[in-house]
């Protein structure tokens, strides 16, 4: 081992003699990790440059849509933020498409905030939660396809879900319930999905051949309307901690 290193060194020396370039070599390295905290000074020229952008973003994004009763957290296999979003998508899908929808899933990686803070929920917060222009689509799945989908979710550590539940065992879905009932292999189920996942995003290529019902309705618009609806009913966004997907003991 040591011997072979010397050989390499010799080789390197020979090669370097053959070349006329006298290269420099990294000899020492120090690392500084700068945290940019709330008290850090700000560059005023940069602030001025950004001002017109900020003003118009604030104008459209500071509208308060509703109130979060507690801070919701993004978590796997289940968490309060994912539960809220999946509930919203399930509810709004049925309203938008005017048909019964059995369950909804949310792509875990597509949730772009780690938390939804307690208190006022602005339009801007919802944009940060779901910045993508992903569309809400419906797909009709056989019982076997539902099992395949849930195994896929299980292998990925659990994604937000509404209208269904299961247990992750050896990276597979067991004890599957849809609408509170065990999975029926002979039934057709309606899934509310994002077009991103339905088109095979996040390596969900098995969903790609399944036709989509699509009305060009943005998932973000579904969330915005759901929160406004709650507010009109005088309800806050509740913290639902139910473990819809859990890991086997």
């Amino acid at each position: 081992m040591i011997f072979s290193k010397y050989i390499n060194l010799l080789l390197l020396l020979t090669l370097s003699l053959a070349s006329c370039h006298r290269a420099m070599h990294p000899a020492k390295l120090a690392y500084h990790d700068y945290k940019i905290d709330a008290a850090a000074p700000r560059d005023s020229a940069m602030m001025r440059m950004l001002l017109p952008y900020r003003d118009s973003v604030d104008k459209s994004m500071n509208e308060v849509l509703g109130i979060a009763a507690a801070t919701l957290e993004k978590k796997q296999p289940s968490g309060s933020l994912g539960n809220f979003m999946a509930d919203a998508v399930l509810d709004m899908a049925a309203k938008q498409f005017k048909m019964p929808v059995d369950f909804a899933i949310i792509n875990y990686g597509g949730i772009r905030s780690l938390q939804l803070a307690k208190g006022e929920v602005t339009r801007g917060k919802v944009f940060e939660l779901m910045p993508f222009d992903n569309l809400l689509v419906l797909q009709k799945l056989s019982g076997d396809q539902v099992q395949q989908l849930f195994d896929y979710l299980a292998a990925r550590g659990g994604w937000p879900i509404a209208g269904a539940s299961f247990v992750i065992k050896n990276k597979q879905a067991t004890d599957v319930l849809v609408g509170g009932k065990p999975l029926d292999k002979n039934k057709t189920y309606t899934l509310a999905n994002s077009d991103y996942v339905a088109n095979g995003g996040d390596d969900a290529s098995f969903l790609k051949p399944i036709p989509q019902i699509n009305s060009g309705y943005l998932i973000r618009d579904a969330l915005l309307t759901y929160i406004r609806n709650l507010q009109q009913q005088g309800k806050p966004i509740a913290e639902i901690t139910e473990n819809r997907i859990r890991n086997a003991e």
């Binding site: 070599h25 120090a30 690392y31 905290d37 440059m49 944009f127």
Partner: protein
Amino acid sequence: MQNRRTFIRQSALAAGSLLLGAQAGAAELLVDARSRQLTILHTNDTHSRIDPFPMDGSRNEGQGGVAARAAMINQIRSEAEHVLLLDAGDIFQGTPYFNIYKGEPEVKAMARMGYDACTIGNHDFDGGVDNLALQMKQHGGFSTIVSNYDFAGTAMESVAVPYRIIKKGGLKVGILGVGIELDGLVPANLYGTTRYLDPIQKANEVAGILHAKGCDLVICLSHLGYKYAGNKVSDQQLARETENINLIISGHTHTFLDKPDVLQNKKGQDVVVNQVGWAGLQLGRLDYDFNRQKGQRLISANPLTVTKKTHE
């Protein structure tokens, strides 16, 4: 902030304390008088985080923001002579700024901070490949470096370069870039006819070119991701299965590292890998000292010193 001299002295002390006295003495003697310094500042996955996180009681409230980053960079530039400022991709997407302006303020802010180069992240395609090209062309002015995307026939063809050599403080620094597999991650209508090529193979090929052109340091900006549980290609493989790369500025996985990783490449030489989380919450700073001494392994000869800083 400590000045450069005390910083170097402290680094030397820290290095010396971890070595046997005799070896440290020998190392000091061997330092070439014509040594060079280079400071590398880096970010990744800033995700349209123009403003600091809102003061709403959430985890990162008040942190980050480009105005604070700009002030910090200005401060460092006033102390260190030779600075390179780099980004490992995913500049776009994550706040309403992107939904409304499609990347314009993000790229403008980077140009103003004096970024030298970036690579492309998967989310940089979120406004489509044409939009990416438009923003970089109209507002950038820094290099967009990616070695393993074939942009032939797309609007990015005239924008992206496979590598760039920057001369800084008497040093020749070669920079290449690698992007993640797009199929199954980015909707096909957004990346268009962009072709993804094997990142390890391309990185090796381009790093070889940069080495042959006499670069003193070869940096790879990578949006492959720091590490995965499975065998998905990551910066771990990139470091181990290539040669001629000294430093990998990592992105995609939003990984906060306590200190840079030091891995060994195919030839047993050191490869430093670092990533600073996401959202512009941190700025990484690597201070390199160069000399003409050949063949030593950087980190084993002089252990990496690590300091945590906020602001002044």
